[in-house]
């Protein structure tokens, strides 16, 4: 399998032969930052197109089909439209917090995006606290939403923000605990180690029953964390106009929109990395010929294939289920998912201690 670190180390050594260390790092930081920004924006465009098309098919429509072949250029046209739109100043708002809030939301999603392993050797920051880091920085987004809701000076925004805060705080527990179940199995928090140790079978197969339960819980909790239907009460358009981002216009609204789509991708990416092996191809111990063939598919395709499969699941759920009420939402988390999760964690510990996993 092609290892991308060959390319990156070649660039690194090439720069180091001609430049002092300080400038090498400065150049590399800027280049990596720009690359991540570009990938972030392009992925958002792809996700918006995919969402609109799939939503259309679920509702027996055609979806965008005028701009470009099958409407593939539609999101690009939309991007230019949103970039050219006026940012409308709102009276009687706390200006500082109002303009700060979208940045907090998008920076939180950006920080967790940077920690995903996209392919073999394509990993930007590989902390030894990997999963913990992702959980930590993704929790910063709540503050942006709360501040946006309050500083908009609008009761719909405020209600949306409070709902969103309650929802995110509750479902973060389930998401964290279900990831911890897999950390117990792998014995490491580092994402690269987690991916490497799935070379002889993905964790969802290795950890069988508890891993499958944790996978389901993570998908539900992660879906709830992205504020998308059936958990979209924070921005329920029929009751709250648009929830916490009602008053935002132009690119400020674009930031919320972008981070919502990318959070969906990040949740799917983490689930793919932790449960489905990330960029690791499907290996079945014993079938060497089969494993060899699977290795010929580049790692980056494996990662994006799995992630987009999970994104499709999330869209499927979004466009089929009706919206929950706030009490149903909190009951689901605190009375069902959380106790189940804790029992599941104990079950996983028992299985690991007794050596019953593959």
């Amino acid at each position: 399998m092609f290892d991308f670190s060959i390319v990156t180390t070649w660039i690194d050594t090439f720069l180091k032969t001609y430049l002092p260390e300080f400038w090498v790092y400065a150049i590399e930081f800027v280049v990596v930052g720009l690359l991540v920004l570009t990938v972030y924006a392009v992925l958002a465009l792809v996700l918006i197109y995919v969402e609109r098309k799939i939503c259309a098919f679920f509702q027996c429509r055609l979806g965008p089909n005028r701009v470009g072949l099958f409407g593939v250029l539609q999101p690009i046209a939309d991007m230019f439209k949103i970039l050219l739109k006026e940012i409308i100043p709102i009276n009687h708002v706390d200006k500082f917090l109002f303009y700060l809030a979208p940045f907090l939301v998008i920076v939180a999603s950006f920080l967790s995006f940077g920690a995903l392993p996209f392919g073999k050797g394509l990993h930007i920051i590989d902390f030894n606290i990997g999963i913990f880091y992702i959980l930590a920085v993704s929790s910063l987004g709540i503050l942006g939403i709360l501040l946006a809701g309050w500083s908009s000076n609008n009761k719909f925004s405020m209600i949306g923000a409070m709902r969103s805060g309650a929802q995110l705080i509750s479902y973060e527990l389930s998401a964290g605990l279900s990831l911890l179940t897999i950390v117990v199995l792998s014995g490491s928090l580092q994402l690269s180690t987690i991916v490497e140790s799935q070379a002889d079978g993905w964790f969802i197969f290795k950890g069988h029953i508890p891993a499958a339960i944790a996978f389901l819980i993570y998908l539900i909790a992660g879906h709830a964390e992205t504020n998308r239907g059936p958990f979209d009460l924070p921005e329920a358009e029929s009751e709250l106009t648009a929830g916490y981002h009602t008053e935002y216009s132009g690119i400020q609204f674009g930031f919320f929109y972008l981070s919502e789509y990318l959070n969906m991708f990040i949740i799917a990416g983490i689930a793919a990395t932790v449960f489905l092996g990330g960029w690791m191809p499907l290996h079945i111990p014993g079938l060497d010929g089969f494993n060899q063939i699977m290795d010929y598919i580049p790692s980056i395709f494996w990662f994006f294939g799995k992630t987009f499969f999970l994104v499709f699941l999330s869209l499927w759920v979004r466009w089929t289920f009706p919206r929950l009420r706030i009490d149903q939402l909190l009951n689901l988390e605190w009375k069902y998912l959380l106790p189940l999760n804790m029992v599941n964690l104990l079950l996983m510990v028992a299985i690991v201690l007794l050596g019953l996993h593959f």
């Binding site: 030894n128 920085v137 910063l140 709540i142 503050l143 709360l146 309050w150």
Partner: protein
Amino acid sequence: MVQNIIFYAIAAVMVICAILSVTSKRILRSATYLLFVLIATGALYLQLGYEFLAGVQISVYAGGILVLYVFSILLTSNAGDKEKPKNWKRILSAAAVATAGFALCGYIIFNNVATFKDKYLTSALTAEEINMNKIGMALMGTDKYQYLLPFEVISILLLACIIGGILIARKR
């Protein structure tokens, strides 16, 4: 040199935001400035190579406690209220207490910085990366320099807090 530049940038953010967080007239803005101070502290830990501590700082303080602060501000007070100007006696006494505290800490640090530097700082900076396994073993072990008992005592304290919270909040 690069390390110094990064350090001074982080320190400047921390100092400026700490001052703004105290002097700001609106309570929600104070909370936001406090968020920046906490994140910058996390960045300082990252610079020192304490990744776990940085993660804890961000998830517990910035992502956890500050969210609860903002929540309780939004639920209890009228968050947009501007604070009334304080009377000068209280400003003076607060300034005196702050100066005394600063002088005491400054005196201690200034007189002990050399011994501290020799004893801990050089060894800490050259030491290898502290990985999660080591931290986990230290928290859960019963040997010397391992902390199972304090860990359990703190968990009992937290349990008591949870039960107390439920008792206060329950419907009668």
